[in-house]
Amino acid sequence: MNSLIAFFLIGGTLMSALAVLGIIRLPDMYSRLHATTKSTTLGVIMIMTGAFLYFWYVDGLIETNLLLGAFFILLTAPVSSHLLSRSAFHSDVKPYKLTVLNDLKRDESLPDDTDEPDRP
């Protein structure tokens, strides 16, 4: 059981370190969004699971708030990445050397483009 806790904690920390390496190295904003959504989520989930098992095994307390936090991060990370990438595309953030296709620009405008409300 000790080794299971150690595996979860070290694994989660290494995943977070991988995410930071990705955010520093990758050349483009959309790629950094990939690293944030996938690696940070898994890293924090593993750390929370390790902490939950630690409190259960060593102290005898069952603390399900940690699992709730992990579930919350799993739910909300894709949503924030979707909103950020949509806002970045609308604000003309330049993508990296876009070799293949840009279907969004081909369809000429972002969907649900309502009019700007009047300023007071």
């Binding site: 995943m15 991988l18 390496l21 990705g22 190295r25 990758l26 050349p27 483009d28 959309y30 790629s31 969004l33 990939h34 690293a35 959504t37 996938k38 690696s39 989520t41 898994l42 739910l75 990370a77 894709p78 949503v79 990445s81 979707h82 990438s85 949509r86 595309f89 993508p95 990296y96 876009l98 070799t99 293949v100 296709l101 840009n102 279907d103 969004l104 620009k105 369809d107 972002l110 969907p111 649900d112």
Partner: protein, 159 residues
């Protein structure tokens, strides 16, 4: 499906009354035993047998977890290598699902898949625009999403 679950819960309570043992364990045992009459009489109740939907939901959760782990493995291979060669691209994916919660599930699943992040959804929910890290073979990605994920979500949502 709601009617089947209601009948199952009623049978669980009747089981507690039969066994005369008012505890949570006998309620749970009554629920498990009550699945059998619902299964035998599934022809006379509306909709599919609801355990099939429960099985597909559990399979969806397993697919979520496996895709997250695979995504991290692929991303680590890209980040650690000394020269980053990615060929990103935006591509459009035609989607056949109707309801809103299905599209939400599908977009969450696409965001946790190796190499794809969702960018925009069109107004009539018919096209999903995706940013991929390796957009060299677009058709493989589109067929993967269509065949694995959309079929699974359609199975969960069929009444």
């Amino acid at each position: 499906m709601a009617l089947q679950i209601l009948i199952n819960i009623t049978l669980a309570f009747i089981w507690v009354l039969i066994v005369s043992d008012l505890s949570l364990g006998s309620l749970f045992a009554g629920y498990l035993i009550g699945i059998i009459p619902v299964f035998v009489l599934r022809r006379f109740l509306p909709g599919r047998f609801y355990m099939v939907r429960v099985y597909y939901s559990i399979k969806l959760i397993a697919v979520f977890t496996i895709e997250l782990i695979k995504a991290n493995y692929e991303l680590s291979k890209i980040i650690i290598s000394p020269k980053i060669d990615i060929h990103p691209g935006f591509f459009a994916y035609p989607c056949d699902l109707e309801e809103e919660w299905e599209i939400t599930l599908l977009s969450g699943l696409i965001s946790l898949t190796p190499g794809t992040v969702i960018v925009a959804i069109s107004d009539d929910y018919s096209t999903i625009y995706i940013h991929g890290l390796n957009a060299l073979d677009v058709d493989a990605e589109i067929s993967l999403i269509k065949n694995r994920f959309e079929k699974l979500i359609a199975e969960v949502s069929k009444p």
